[in-house]
Subunit: 434 residues, 2 copies
Amino acid sequence: MPSTTVQLLLTGNELMTGDIVDSNSAMMAQILKEQGLEISRKVTVADALSLLVSEIDYMATNSDILIINGGLGPTVDDLTSEALARATQVPLAEHPEALAHITQWAEQRGAELNAPNLKQALLPSGCQIIANSCGSAVGFSVNYKGCDIYCTPGVPRELKVMFNEQIVPKIRQKLPDNLICDVTRLQVFGYGESSLQKLIDEQLPDWPESIDLGFRAGMPLLEVKLTTNTKQGLAIKPLWQNKLSALLKEHIIAEVIDKPKSLAENLLTKLQHHKLKITTAESCTGGLIASKLTEISGSSNSFEAGYVTYSNAMKTEMLGVCPKLLAEVGAVSEAVVIEMAKGALSKSGADLAIAVSGVAGPNGGSDEKPVGMVWLAWGSHNDIKTQCLRLPYARRQFQQYVTAIGLDLLRRYQQGLSSTPNYVVERAFQQQSS
Amino acid sequence: MPSTTVQLLLTGNELMTGDIVDSNSAMMAQILKEQGLEISRKVTVADALSLLVSEIDYMATNSDILIINGGLGPTVDDLTSEALARATQVPLAEHPEALAHITQWAEQRGAELNAPNLKQALLPSGCQIIANSCGSAVGFSVNYKGCDIYCTPGVPRELKVMFNEQIVPKIRQKLPDNLICDVTRLQVFGYGESSLQKLIDEQLPDWPESIDLGFRAGMPLLEVKLTTNTKQGLAIKPLWQNKLSALLKEHIIAEVIDKPKSLAENLLTKLQHHKLKITTAESCTGGLIASKLTEISGSSNSFEAGYVTYSNAMKTEMLGVCPKLLAEVGAVSEAVVIEMAKGALSKSGADLAIAVSGVAGPNGGSDEKPVGMVWLAWGSHNDIKTQCLRLPYARRQFQQYVTAIGLDLLRRYQQGLSSTPNYVVERAFQQQSS
């Protein structure tokens, strides 16, 4: 844990009513994290003077850095300057630099300076100005009770520039030079948050405290984050990251370098590298697998055709599945998904195919073929693999999970991996033979 | 101002690090506003026990209702239960109802109950359970120092259902009976938030203050909400709702009765009523239209086949588009989308088709056919309509917008509407004839 305590005070009626979603604090948190700093507490209040004054006083007393966001505008509900003046017990005064900025800002726009604008130059006496290169509201800072208080604009575009260019350098000046902040993010597929926690508790019970282990559940990928802020942690991190990799094996899709990639993007990168083409034959996912692939820019290099065969008749018409077979074993069957995959391969000329047929629900299930049951077939012309799973989720989650598994099975196939994925261990479905 | 004080405590390291943006509090604020309640203060803290305990104690002392969001999961960093127990000075105890829920939840998924899961049944002694129909974590509530404290899951999907179905009724019980809270929600497609605001400002300048007009932007639908909390507002509301309907005409898809329906669901309901079948021929949307249709339960009644023809060769192979035509006018052209629609109709035997071909970008654009340009063809065998639009959005948004427009054009076609939608007015693209 860093020793510098940072708190954040957000103000704005629109934040309280739900009319806008606050993205500013995530943005600042990300930037601060790069400096090894964490925001420990964040308070959001409506534009009410007494609320603001008491929050500022309390928060300044309990932190080294307090960032106040919003309330710098020209209207009557912009109260930050007045609240800060009251909290720090200084008068408001017209600030010459702020006035000059506002005057210049209006001149550049051919606008006349009006009374609301002039209000933006009334700041707590003795404060320091923080330049705003994108808007009329200057930021300002004061030191109160040993806490550095930075007042910043609520407009995200203005905030971002001011925060990066003006405030971070000021904060940085006061930080020790040797601050450590090392973060590794791994994309994992096939384990849920609790099953992975359990696995680590059991298999790596001595996991060191100096390496913080965090999970972020995202459908369908789970992000596992290893963070260390100490020299000791840094020294042993490679060893523990290796242990984790050995434990999770091919369930680790990739390490996040710049930004996370989807399963489809990871797969397409590999396919393109090997100049392989892929096709999809979808029943229960209804086009979702094709859609996930074509969401990725450049997918046309590896994907030409997708078949959404939602009825039995269309499985025959579009993919050549034998009508007699459909009548005998039903659409949700190993034999049919194999024929779907083969049909898609031969009609599209692709190298690899994924075919899926299942019971998405909520209706249409039977004892033999319950809701959540799905057959997958994947592979190439002479080598089709199959698997039956039971994924008892609501319709849309079922479709998303089948899609993710289909993409993962293709990735494993293409990489020549033979180990059994955890989702097969957990979800394999054995059809009762009659 | 309402006399009931509501505060919100959010917990989660991922909220502090900026890894996720909090959308839960906006969602809850919107729902509470419909009950005439406002959130007065919101505090967000990391997953740290001592922080949580002191916040809970302070906030409960200063509010009538405290909603705690997050920290109900199975992992070690989920601390809400323990923190609430400490703050309210009761022991943790295994709650039979919670245990039953988790056991049933695991059984339904064929999963073994593990130690982390069992932790989710350890709750503050004497608390009341709040059912969670979508996830493993039950919510719970206690009354402490006269404040009703509700603990809710951080997963937005789970929270939304629990909040609407379980918590709002509980809150409502304690509110005065004569509180008027009348809400009408309209689903609008074809106007953005600001263009609709401008239209209303210009065309209905006398909009009464007693009917609060709110917008909630959701891709692709915009929800327009008319809320009134006074008898006066209630009396004049029908008149003003009529004025709004006359202004927006067929851009209003539906009034939200129970829960919002997607464009696809609205369309499918109408198709099923008329026993009509639909097919899709997709290039730039890559299966997304088919996926939106098949997301809806019962879509198999109206949808049998979807063609994802991502390359020129596959447009010919799968839909019979003339190779010479493709070579002459290119895939993104009126003639080609017409042939795609006709091919899909004849091969699938459907009554209605939508075909799209466009430049999703970011690469592949030219002066003549820039990124964001798309041709759509829709209709039935003897009556195919076409339109070219320019939708200058990033790839995924472009695909989503084309999908939504395709579904809306089919809805208008099926209903026999001949008026020009606003998106055509705003986005029509005229190809330069050579």
